[in-house]
Symmetry: C2
Subunit: 540 residues, 2 copies
C-alpha cells in the first residue's frame, strides 16, 4: 500500500529557493579575492545562480557533466555550485593546496569539462594546462577589469554570466543523481573521487542543522572558514541557506587578523574550521589583546581539537567549542560534541575530558566499532575497534572504481579510524586503523601512548609504531625527539606511563632520534617510520 | 550520472533505532490510564516495539494492513505505532471524540483488521462492534488484572505482547509505503483518509526539529499534550526520539491540574497543544497561584492562539509562545512563529502583533497565496488569497478517492485557508476559503470583521457571512448576539469599524440574534448561518 504524500524530490536547488523565498534579504558577505568586502543576499544570489545555470546550459553543459572549481569561499563560488546544480551538472571542488600534478590527475580523472578558478590560482592553471585532457574552457571568478592575460582559453566570470539572464527554471533531476564531487587525498595510492547526490546533500544538511548538531537558525551569522574545497565545505553551502542563516565568507585570507576582523565587524555567531586556523586566531588574540564579543560557537574538526584550544575558547573568550568529526566520504559530518543531559553538568577538567571526544552522531548516521573480523564491540567508552558508519550521506563506492568490497555485509563503510564509543553515544578516535598495534589479539592505541609520552618534560615529540614480535605479533616501539639540551634515559621516559596505562600497553623499547618525518600537513609520517625501523628487533 | 552514496531508506523504525542506540536511558514517562505514573526508556520501548512487531507478524498482519487505535498518549500507544511500522503495517489513529457512527464509518472505510483501544474507550467499541465490518480482534491497552469483560473478542495488551519476544528485525519496506493514517473531519461530506508514508514522516520530523521550528534537543523534556490521534500527533512521536528528547505523556488527563502536575514534577521544557488546553491550564494557574518555573516553550496550534494567551504565557509565566499552524494533510506542521532577525527586537504590542501570525515555513514546506484563478499574489503582508502548499509531507490524494483535481497544475494542495504572507515569509490566516466574502472581485475577511465587532462593549458574540448582492455579488452581513441586558443600535455597532477598515469592507447590515449556532468543537457554524439567512436581501 503506497503512502499518498506528494512526490517532492530532495534536490539541492530547492534549498536556495527556500532561502530566497523565506529569507530574501539575509546577507551573504564575502571578502573578495580582489580585496573589497562584497555584500549580496540570498534572493540576489539565487537570481545570479539562475542566470549562471542558463549560461552553462547555453554553453552546452548537460546533466552529469563535471566542472572543476579551484576557488576560495566567496559568493561567486556559491553561485557556481548552485548554477551547476540547477542544470544537473556536478560541482567538483579541487583542493588548490595539492601538488600541481595531483590537481591535473584529479581533473583528468573526473573528466571535468570546465574549470572555474579564482585569480589566486591562475598560475596553477598555467602550470598544468598542457596536461589537462578534458577541460575545454576556463572561467576566472572576476570581472573584465581584473582579468589577467592567460595562455589558455578563458573568460571573466562576470562578463560570461552577463551573456544570459535569470529567466530560467531549474532543470529537474532525480534526487539520486550526482550533485558534487570531492577527491580524498589518501596517503597511499591515487586520490579517490567521492560523488555526492542531491539527496545525500539535502538529507545531510537537514540532519546537521538540528540543535544538538550545528544548531543553525535564521538569526545566526555563520562564517565558514573551512574552504568549500575541503570535504564538501562541511555542508555549510547547503545548511546555511536551509536555515536562512547569514553567511560571512573569508575569501582568500585566513590569517588571524583577517579572520578576527570579519568575526568582529560582521558579528559572526558561529564559525567552523580546522585547529590550525584557530591556532592562528588564538595567537593573534593573545598578541593583540583583542576579544570575541559576538562569537557564540566554534566548530572544530578536520583533526582532533587540542584540549588547550577548547580551554582557551571556552574559558578565556567565552565561546562554546563544538568538537566535530567527519570525513569526505561522509558529506562530511559524522559527530558533533554537544552536551546531552547526562553530561550537561560537567565542569572544569571533567568537561574538557568529555569535549576531547569527537561527539555523537545525528539521526541518519549509524556507527559501530568492530574487531578485524567484523564482530561488534560494546559501547562502553573504552573498548576500541574499527569505526564503521552507515547512512544516506555515506559513500558506497568511489568514482570509476569497482564497487566490490568497500562496504561490509551490513552495508557499513570502514572509516579507517579506530575509536571507542560510550554508553551515551560519544565517540572518541584513538588511532588510525593502519597505525594501531595488535598485540596478542588486543589493540594498543599509538595516539594515547604518544600523548602520554609528551607528559615527560624532556620530550619534544613522540611517535609510537608497532614492530614485529615473535610472541605477541606486534609490540609498541616509542620513538622520542628529546628537547634541545636534554638527554633523558629510557627508564625515566617509560616511568611516565606507569599507573596511566595497562601493563601490557608499555612500550618494549625507546629510541631517541633527532627528527621525526612529517607529512605535508604536519602529521607524523608513520609509514616512513615503519620503513625506517622495519629491521628493528626487540631484545630477548 | 548517479551519485555514489549509500541507499539508506527513510523508514520510521530507524528513528527509534537511533534513539535506543544514542539515547538509551532517556525517559519516556506516562500517566497511565490505570492511574499510576509509568516510566520507561527509549531502549526498553524499542525492545517492546520489536516484540510487538513479532507478535503482530505472528498474528498474520502484513505490509499495508491497517490497525486502528483509539488511545491516549502513553508509552503503549507509542509502542503500538512502532510495532506496526516495524512490519510495514499502518497505524490508523481514530479520534475517540467523534460520534460513534463516524468512528465506525472511518474504521470500516480504512478496513482496519485490528483495533487497539484504551480502557477508556471500551464502551465505544461495545457500542459500535455490531457495525464494524473489517475488525477481527481488539487489543485493550492494559494487563490481565485490569482487563474488563467484553462482548467482543479481545485480549489484554501485556499478555498478548508477552506471547512473543524481542528477537526480531524490522521488516524492510519501501520508504514510500504507507506508514500511518488519519481521517480529516470535514464540515461537509464524509471524512477523508490521509495516508502518511515512511518517507513523509521521517522528512517531516527532520524538518520540524531545527532551531527555528520546534528546536528539539536531547536536553529537552517534551510533553505532547496534543493527542497522537490529532493530526499525526504533530509528529512528536517521531521528532522526539529523533532528537533524543525525553517524552512526558499525559495519558487520559488533560485538565489544568493534571497538566500542571506533570509540567512541574517532570520539569517539562517544551509542550504542545491547542488553545483550549492552555486556557484550562491558565485558569488553573490563576486560581491556585501556581507558576511554571521549568517550562521554557509552549507550541500552540490547531486554531489561532488568542493574543491574551500569548501575553499571559510570555509576560506572566515567562514561557515563550510558539504559535504554529498545520493540518492533518501536512503531517501536520506548516509554519511556526519563531523570531527571525528582522523581527527579533520587537517588544510589547508590536511583538504580540507578530506573534498573532501563524509563522514561517520550514525547508520542505512551500507556500503560495493565489486568487481564485490560481494567479499568485504578492508576499506583502496584506494581500490575501487562497493558501496553497507543496512538499514531501503534504497530501497528494485521499485514501480510495479519485486523484484527479486535488492538486493544482504546479502540484500545490489548497489548504482551504485564506491568508497573507509578508516579505519575510510570516503567514497569517485571515479566513476559511468557504467563508471569505467576494465583493466586486475583492476579498473581505469575515474573521477580521468579527474580531473588530467584539471591540464594542455590548457585543457578546459576532459572526459575519456573505449574502448575495445584485451589484457586488456578495456583501457582508454582521450578526450580533448582544450582551445580556444591552440593546445596542446598528449605527453604533458599525461605528466601531470606522477608521479600522477600508470603507468597502463595512458590513451592509447588522442583525441582532439571541444565539449563534456552533459546531461540536465550539466554532461558529457558518453553513447553518448562511442557510438561515439565505433569503436575506439588503435594503436598496
Amino acid at each position: 500500500m503506497p503512502g499518498l504524500m506528494q512526490d517532492w524530490s530532495l534536490t539541492c536547488p530547492r534549498i536556495l529557493d527556500h532561502a530566497a523565498r523565506n529569507h530574501p534579504t539575509r546577507a551573504v558577505v564575502s571578502r573578495s579575492v580582489e580585496g573589497p568586502i562584497h555584500r549580496t543576499t540570498y534572493a540576489e544570489l539565487r537570481q545570479r545562480a539562475l542566470t549562471l545555470a542558463k549560461r552553462f546550459q547555453r554553453y552546452g553543459l548537460t546533466e552529469g557533466d563535471r566542472v572543476a572549481t579551484l576557488a576560495w569561499n566567496t559568493w561567486r563560488h556559491m553561485e557556481t555550485w548552485y548554477g551547476l546544480l540547477g542544470i544537473g551538472a556536478v560541482y567538483h571542488t579541487v583542493n588548490p593546496r595539492l601538488f600541481p600534478d595531483q590537481i591535473a590527475w584529479i581533473i583528468n580523472h573526473a573528466e571535468d569539462r570546465l574549470l572555474v578558478v579564482d585569480l589566486t590560482f591562475v598560475p596553477i592553471v598555467e602550470a598544468i594546462w598542457k596536461d589537462l585532457t578534458s577541460v575545454e574552457h576556463v572561467i576566472v571568478l572576476t570581472d573584465a577589469a581584473h582579468m589577467p592575460e592567460t595562455s589558455f582559453p578563458a573568460s571573466p566570470y562576470e562578463e560570461w554570466l552577463a551573456e544570459a539572464d535569470a529567466d530560467f527554471a531549474w532543470v529537474e533531476v532525480d534526487e539520486n543523481a550526482a550533485a558534487g564531487m570531492c577527491y580524498t587525498s589518501g596517503t597511499t595510492g591515487n586520490p579517490k573521487g567521492v560523488v555526492y547526490s542531491h539527496r545525500s546533500n539535502v538529507l545531510h544538511a537537514m540532519a546537521v542543522s538540528v540543535p544538538d548538531m550545528l544548531s543553525l537558525a535564521a538569526r545566526d551569522r555563520v562564517m565558514p572558514v573551512v574552504p568549500l574545497f575541503h570535504a564538501n565545505g562541511w555542508s555549510l553551502a547547503f545548511s546555511c541557506p536551509l536555515a536562512g542563516a547569514a553567511m560571512i565568507m573569508p575569501g582568500p585570507r585566513m590569517d588571524g587578523e583577517a579572520i578576527w576582523e570579519l568575526l568582529d565587524t560582521e558579528k559572526v555567531s558561529l564559525t567552523a574550521a580546522v585547529p590550525t586556523v584557530w591556532l592562528m586566531l588564538l595567537q593573534y588574540l593573545e598578541k593583540t589583546g583583542r576579544t570575541l564579543p559576538h562569537l557564540e560557537r566554534v566548530v572544530i574538526g578536520g583533526s582532533a581539537c587540542p584540549r588547550a584550544m577548547t580551554k582557551a575558547f571556552e574559558e578565556v573568550y567565552d565561546v562554546r567549542v563544538m568538537h566535530a568529526w567527519g570525513m569526505t566520504e561522509m558529506s562530511p559530518l559524522g559527530t558533533v560534541c554537544s552536551l546531552k543531559p547526562e553530561v550537561a553538568d560537567l565542569a572544569g577538567e571533567a568537561r574538557l575530558d568529555l569535549q576531547e571526544k569527537q561527539g555523537h552522531a545525528p539521526f541518519t548516521v549509524e556507527m559501530k566499532v568492530t574487531d578485524d573480523d567484523g564482530t561488534e564491540r560494546p559501547w562502553d567508552g573504552k573498548t576500541f575497534g574499527r569505526l564503521k558508519v552507515r547512512g544516506p550521506a555515506v559513500t558506497r563506492s568511489y568514482f570509476k572504481e569497482d564497487k566490490a568490497g568497500i562496504l561490509d555485509e551490513d552495508g557499513f563503510f570502514d572509516t579507517g579510524d579506530v575509536s571507542h564509543i560510550d554508553a551515551h553515544g560519544y565517540m572518541q578516535i584513538t588511532d588510525r586503523a593502519k597505525d594501531v598495534i595488535k598485540s596478542g589479539g588486543e589493540w594498543i592505541s599509538t595516539i594515547d601512548l604518544e600523548n602520554l609520552a609528551l607528559l615527560h618534560p624532556d620530550v619534544a615529540e613522540a611517535a609510537v609504531i608497532g614492530v614485529a614480535h615473535p610472541k605477541w605479533d606486534e609490540r609498541p616501539l616509542l620513538i622520542v625527539v628529546p628537547k634541545d639540551g636534554t638527554e633523558p634515559g629510557k627508564e625515566e621516559i617509560l616511568a611516565t606511563f606507569e599507573g596511566r596505562i595497562a601493563k601490557w600497553w608499555m612500550p618494549n623499547d625507546v629510541i631517541f632520534v633527532e627528527e621525526i618525518p612529517h607529512t605535508a600537513t604536519g602529521k607524523i609520517k608513520k609509514t616512513a617510520l615503519r620503513e625506517q625501523f622495519s629491521d628493528f628487533t626487540f631484545e630477548a
